[in-house]
């Protein structure tokens, strides 16, 4: 009998796996390690220290970074919230709305922005804003972020909704719930994990965005990524590494959270 395919029996399986993981994570690891470096140099090791973390919070540039971080958080929170609301409504319309003309075209249009090169979207957004004389600033960043967060939030939310049988909503209506109560008491709690995943995905994407933000932010307004970029242009200092490490840990935390929420929600089945 032929042996079942098992990737482990190939020579060098563990070596290749480790090599790939190393190539993927080495740059991140180096940044993390050197963020604890006591020396001013970014390449020579000068002993363990937390001085660059201190620098991030209390150093010369700390006010700038704090303001940028604050902008980033507020924008990400609001953009993700609004995008999630829009994406939830869109999912319900698309998944539960029955058949309508141009349904598949609508689906394509919702998810297309994910595939469009970001630089194109950035340029187009900037041109659009100046065409309607929209003042560049925090508000223009927010509007742009809401728009590009919608497709990302839409994907997990609509996937979740597709997995929910329509009979729950019918049961709720049968038991005297109107449309709104059906959504509030039955559909939304069951969709919950998808909605939270969509929100977190939108939040991370917004927090992390550089290209579009850089185009539409206007003079003097910074988010964390644009502030970091601005600082790096004058030469990489170890405090950037500390800041990047903090941002990385925060993102990892959010992704992990999203994973566990998604997994918890997977036991949808009530009946065998």
């Amino acid at each position: 009998m032929e042996k079942a395919f098992n990737v482990k029996q190939y020579n060098g399986f563990y070596f290749i796996t480790c090599l790939c993981l190393f190539i993927l994570y080495a740059p991140l690891l180096i940044v993390m390690i050197y963020s604890f470096n006591d020396s001013l140099s970014i390449t020579r090791w000068g002993g363990m220290s937390l001085r660059w973390y201190y620098e991030v919070f209390y150093g010369l540039e700390s006010e700038k970074f704090k303001l940028a971080a604050w902008n980033s958080l507020i924008i990400a929170l609001m953009a993700a919230t609004i995008a999630t609301i829009v994406a939830t409504a869109a999912s319900i319309g698309m998944v539960r709305g029955g058949h309508f003309k141009g349904k598949s075209a609508s689906f394509g249009l919702i998810s297309l922005p994910i595939m469009v090169p970001e630089i194109v979207t950035a340029v187009a957004t900037l041109i659009f804003f100046s065409a309607i004389s929209f003042k560049l600033g925090v508000l223009s960043i927010l509007v742009a972020h809401i728009v590009f967060c919608i497709p990302f939030a839409y994907l997990p939310i609509s996937a979740r909704l597709q997995g929910i049988e329509a009979s729950y909503e019918e049961a709720a209506q049968d038991l005297y719930a109107n449309r709104w109560k059906t959504f509030w008491h039955v559909l939304m709690p069951i969709m919950g994990p998808g909605i939270i995943s969509g929100f977190l995905l939108g939040f991370i994407i917004s927090l992390d965005d550089f290209i579009i933000t850089n185009f539409v932010k206007g003079a003097g307004v910074e988010t964390l990524p644009t502030a970091i970029f601005g600082a790096v242009k004058q030469g990489i200092k170890p405090n950037i590494m500390a800041l990047s490490t903090l941002l990385l840990l925060f993102s990892v935390f959010l992704v992990t959270l999203s994973y566990f929420i998604g997994r918890k929600g997977n036991n949808l089945k009530t009946n065998k």
Binding site: S167, A172, Q173, D174, T270, N271
Partner: protein
């Protein structure tokens, strides 16, 4: 009309595009009745139920609940509740919250909800499970929650779409009498959907037999079984020997027919018939008696074929001629020690009311 019918359907039709799933269904269901829709898969039982519940719009016809026209009301405005085939219990709510859901939606006070939920929980014997989620319950327990949830608001009509089909045989039989008890105790009118004829015959006050979107016959279980309205009903309910026949003579109630094999048989019918018409004679296997000697009275002659032992009964095949054979079922306890051998010459005794004539 002293008492209003619980629900009446007048010429109800449902089209899906070009396909007519329900055509011209008309019937009335009395208050407090256990009414069953019985029919093969795809005949439109669920569609009809969904129109009564309000999940599907009617293409034509009227639906009245205690005299009020309801076919234009949304489901949440109809005092009709459904036990879904897959139960559709809310997975994020406990048993208690599931059962109390309709009351909460109707705006009952917390203490009233608690009282009614406790009453319902006791009625379906789920006292130990009130704080569990549906996923922590067995299929039979989920079924009881679904029943309690649908009955909590004391609806005027309860619709049950094959509620027992997901349960194993033993539990299904238990739930049959349980359902009857619940219906008697609550006095709620039930419309019960099944494709299991045994379920239908044992539980219902009346049965509507459906096929391809039409009601074939409505009647109580013995009417449906003993006096089927047409060949479909005779064939679908229980087992039946169906023989093509032509009417030769009519003598009061007696319809004297000639079978294809040339033999003459006396039958009865509920339809208006004339000499010369052709149709089908239906004979239930248990109404035939095998005798070894010929005797006075109506009989058919044949040869004994296969016999099959099926526990309480034995089933025999009797060959009337090369092509035509009849199935006979006799209780083993009533069989004498005479042994029946393949190929034996036998006489089938047919009582006057055993043969039932159906017009084609």
């Amino acid at each position: 009309m002293a008492i209003k019918d619980a629900i009446s359907l007048e010429g109800v039709r449902k089209d899906f595009g070009d396909f007519t799933a329900i055509s011209n269904v008309t019937f009335d269901i009395a208050d407090n009745e256990f009414f069953t829709l019985l029919g093969p898969s795809g005949c439109g039982k669920t569609t009809l139920l969904r129109m009564i519940a309000g999940f599907e719009e009617t293409s034509a016809g009227k639906i009245k609940l205690y005299g009020d026209i309801i076919e234009n009301l949304p489901p949440n405005k109809r005092p009709i509740n459904t036990v879904f085939q897959n139960y559709a219990l809310f997975p994020h709510m406990t048993v208690k919250e599931n059962i109390g859901f309709s009351l909460k939606m109707l705006g009952w006070s917390k203490s009233d909800i608690n009282d009614r939920v406790a009453e319902m929980v006791a009625m379906v014997k789920l006292e130990e499970f009130t704080d569990r989620k549906p996923s922590q319950l067995s299929g039979g327990q989920q079924q009881r929650v679904a029943l309690a949830r649908a009955m909590a608001s004391k609806p005027k009509l309860l619709l049950l779409d094959e509620p027992l089909s997901a349960l194993d045989l033993k539990l299904r039989k238990e739930m049959r009498s349980e359902l009857k008890r619940l219906q008697r105790d609550t006095g709620i009118t039930f419309i019960f959907v099944t494709h299991d004829q045994e379920e239908a015959l044992s539980m219902s006050d009346r049965i509507a037999v459906m096929s391809s979107g039409k009601v074939q016959q409505i009647g109580n279980p013995s009417e449906i079984y003993d006096t089927p309205a047409n060949r479909f009903v005779a064939d679908f309910i229980g087992e039946a020997n169906l023989l093509n026949a032509t009417i030769q003579k009519i003598d009061g109630e007696k319809i004297i027919c000639r079978l294809q094999s040339g033999q003459i048989l006396t039958s009865k019918s509920s339809s208006k018939v004339n000499v010369g018409q052709s149709g089908t004679i239906s004979i239930r296997p248990e109404k035939l008696i095998i005798k070894k000697q010929n005797f006075k009275g109506q009989y058919l002659e044949g040869k004994l074929g296969q016999s099959t032992y099926i526990g309480t009964d034995t089933q025999f095949e009797i060959l009337l001629d090369k092509e035509l054979s009849l199935t006979v079922r006799m209780q083993n306890s009533s069989l004498t020690s005479e042994n029946y051998k393949n190929g034996d010459q036998v006489f089938l005794s047919i009582a006057d009311d055993a043969a039932w004539f159906l017009l084609d």
